[in-house]
Symmetry: D2
Subunit: 320 residues, 4 copies
């Protein structure tokens, strides 16, 4: 990526954020939730890869990309980009409710709608609504929900309506004919702010740590051994997904989110254990949980208990 890709003309203090575009998507909604969004310079990137590469090259200070969707699951490209290439860190997580709207050009009425365009994931999440409300309309797939809206706006579209994030109406001068048309009202997408490596943000007591563990060899008990590194230190996992490493069918790494911060003694010991039994462990960061939920500390796993046990061991070794 050329140094000029990112159009930056700002003071030193102003952060520069890339995000998965186009404009008007849920990712932009997540971006707007950043505390320093107001003073920031922002720019959409065409793909997750381009957004993260902007951070790697220094063209951006951070990138906001989707990482997990409660309906469609993880976003494979984000997981894979974080697992390989130059190291990156997750500095923050944000969730955005997946509230779809049916957007149309001003003046369009229901009877006009023959075809509806949207991204396949959005189509999957509004399938029931469409079947009930617009059973005759054909659903066509676009590369993003925003692309479906953008084409409507510039009159190049072969469709009369787009299913999209509400924000797209503002960007493209469209109207929401229906809102909240998702089949699952609880649906959310989780986004992360990704930066270059640095000192993790301080502990808040309600933190999450993300990592990727590459198995040393694909033996039957390997996953069990990995899990035991966490359970033996009383650490809950909030997400675990296997991902192929690209080497061969059946060769996996595990993308893991756990409760706690790298500064927690129990997390530190588990990370060291993982590092010893795995071919590689990539630390992706410790950051505050979006929901502020503090973990339950199991007996024997608090920092105080770790410190007391460590002092005891020192006494034993010194013969006191």
């Amino acid at each position: 990526m050329a140094g000029s890709w990112f159009n930056v003309a700002v003071s030193d203090e102003s952060p520069r954020y890339a995000y998965l575009g186009p404009e008007g998507t849920f990712t932009e909604q997540a971006l707007r939730a950043l505390p320093d969004y107001q003073g920031a310079t922002v720019r959409p990137a065409a793909t997750v890869t381009l957004a993260l590469d902007a951070v790697r090259t220094g063209d951006a200070d951070g990138a906001v990309v989707p990482i997990e969707n409660s309906v469609e699951g993880s976003v494979p490209v984000t997981l894979d980009e974080l697992a390989t290439g130059d190291p990156l860190r997750i500095a923050r997580e944000m969730t955005v409710p997946v509230a779809f709207s049916l957007l149309v050009r001003p003046g369009t009425v229901v009877a006009d709608i023959k075809r509806i365009a949207t991204h396949p994931h959005a189509a999957a999440q509004t399938r029931k609504w469409c079947a009930v409300e617009l059973p005759e309309a054909e659903v066509v797939h676009t590369t993003s929900t925003a692309a479906a809206s953008a084409a409507l706006a510039d009159d190049t579209a072969a469709w009369e309506a787009a299913i999209s994030a509400p924000l797209a109406a503002e960007h493209y001068g469209l109207e929401a004919l229906f809102s909240g048309i998702g089949d699952n009202e609880e649906a959310q997408t989780r986004f992360v702010l990704v930066t270059r490596p640095g000192t993790p943000p301080p502990r808040t007591g309600a933190d999450k740590t993300s990592l990727v563990a590459f198995m040393r060899e694909d033996h039957p008990g390997a996953l069990l051994e990995i899990l035991e590194q966490f359970t033996s230190r009383g650490i809950n996992l909030t997400r675990i997904e296997s991902r192929p490493t690209g080497a061969a069918l059946g060769n996996y790494c595990f993308s893991i989110d756990l409760e706690g911060h790298v500064e927690d003694s129990r997390v530190g010991e588990a990370l060291m254990g993982l590092r010893r039994i795995c071919a590689d462990v990539r630390f992706l960061g410790s950051y505050e949980r979006h929901d502020g939920i503090s973990p339950t500390i199991r007996p024997g796993t608090s920092d105080q208990e770790f410190n007391a046990a460590s002092a005891w061991l020192t006494r034993l070794r010194e013969g006191r």
Copy 2:
């Protein structure tokens, strides 16, 4: 889907197969590997969902769909379609090497190529080759590799070359300017033949069983408990993936492939154990492994040992 969707005009014995289209993809290559392909009636479906629905409605006897790709990972829509809706069964698995070709209209030379079209997955798997061989060409994304080829063939394309399965050249009257251009020569895609439920195919000694386990509650040790059902019976897993159930972020089911056949005693006992501790278990079938590798039977887990232990227990209970 209407009963007429599938254009069948064949004898009773002739199987009717749906497959993920369009024509000329790796899926068609997998379809052609079926033993009874010669006499079969086949028809492409626009999506995995449509291909599987054809089986559910009885319009097709079976459907060939991709389930796992060694580079891009699992095919989420296939996993999700198998996990929900009317039950289906995997009757067979096939693997196809992912050997990409750069297809052009006859007469096109390298210097003509300004833009290359392909599916994003294929773009990801040929990224290095393109960067080296055609660094100036722009890569654009289409909904399938075959769509990129088809547009070339009918002259509607805004590109001069398509990255595609070799089979597409035959279908669309194109030429392969380069072959074997994938970045990973070992890359494979795994396909499955999906049918309606029925008696599983007989044991071959080199079988695989697929299932989906829905956790009863999302407590920390739940995945560990699931894994222990297998390890305590000496069963190796060849794939395990978490998938969101669609209910909420963090609510998962596990899609699992294991070594062995439902008729094996150890597999039967593990399935029963899983059924008891899970909210639900969906059995997706037992079928011969594509690679013919027989599992190593751990001491104490053969059918003979299961039978001997069962006879012993009967004697104890009867006081003999």
Copy 3:
């Protein structure tokens, strides 16, 4: 042992019980707690081995022997005799509070007591009391607490007092100068009624099962594997002890008591699993718990759930 060892002259229905003698010990107290003690013919045996051999040869219908003491631990000879030789079964368990008395010949006063005799185990359990109440008296060891009393009774003793079970006073015409002199008022001894193999007593819902598991090889995880057979079926252990097999230092078997009855599905499956992974498993019986405590049935481990899972597996295998 000669057929005449056991002095039997009774009707066919009258049970013949051996017990670890001599008369007047806690074992006799346990014997008296048997429901059919009143009509029984009973006879003390000099050792646990002789008592159990009487059952093996048919000279006795059952034998009452100590198996566990809350202060001194298991009774090794009982565990070892049950683990080897002709098979025997535990048909019942009884507990007796360990309530020691200081017995003397009528007329003896505290000032007369220079030496106190008792079994080493009883000495250990009354050490604190003796140190406080009779600090000047010497404690000498005898082969049983009853032997200490018996010698007092026939005037051959080189001591003036015996620490013994209260029952010994009645047998030997002695007086209890002090009662309840044990250092631990909660101390109990557990006894078992041992018979020849036969149909286990019916389930009561509050049962215990005893067994001995011989490891196939002494590899590091062997004990873990044994325990997992129980935990994976939700079975609690109430006692587990390693015992040397006599072959070499470091070669162990495990003597185990667990909650549940051999007729319980979860216990049956765990026993079969154990049988498959162990060199040998000796079933020692299922019997009602002395304390009537019913186990907590973990989700997924009830007989109903086992039956439902079994029916489900049958349907899968039959293609229904």
Copy 4:
């Protein structure tokens, strides 16, 4: 115990050893195997408790006591004395083959032998030999094998032969009529040299560590959790025994020997883990194995790997 109990009249450097007496037992054989036995002042103690108390009070620098017998199992009193009271440490282990002899007064012949005296454990280990060679002789029990010999020597015995350690012949002026009469030629007894706490002896690479773990509560998975502290760090156990804590039936502690030294990183981390999950852990020492066998170091558990993982964690926390 009075300060004068131990008859010391030696230079400051001369070690003073107590041992379980009387003279002429296997324990004395073990004592003689100490490297500094030649210059030592030694004294038999009547019981294990007295021998260990001599160390606790400072009357002895060390005590040699039996801890494990390959036929009869552990020596409960030694385990219990080490588990409670003022802390002690195991500084060394020694094994002695259990080679029994039949000792008689000079001139005694086989036909003279009507009764044979020995300790019950020795009787159990020579039962088969006696049944074959001296089937008519009655076996009587004494408090030690040496006591049986001593009584022969001073003509007070009601028996004509003693089964004893060979060493007793020398002490009591007896003759070995038969040697090597144990039923199990492989039988060994393990002895330990016990001292007051101090800096553990340096690592030899073939070390053992002993400890006692007191469970925090007697919940079903407690033993499993304890074992996982070791297996998750690749540590083999060479002995594990449950012992009642004396509080109530079913309330246990675990006496454990493991491969490795407290200075080993993996042992240190496991000890700390144990300390955190247990009500109490008593460290009983690290010492060279009697058999010089070095443990197999599992991948990921060497000191180098521990150090590398620790350095890695430090870098993560510091943002490097």
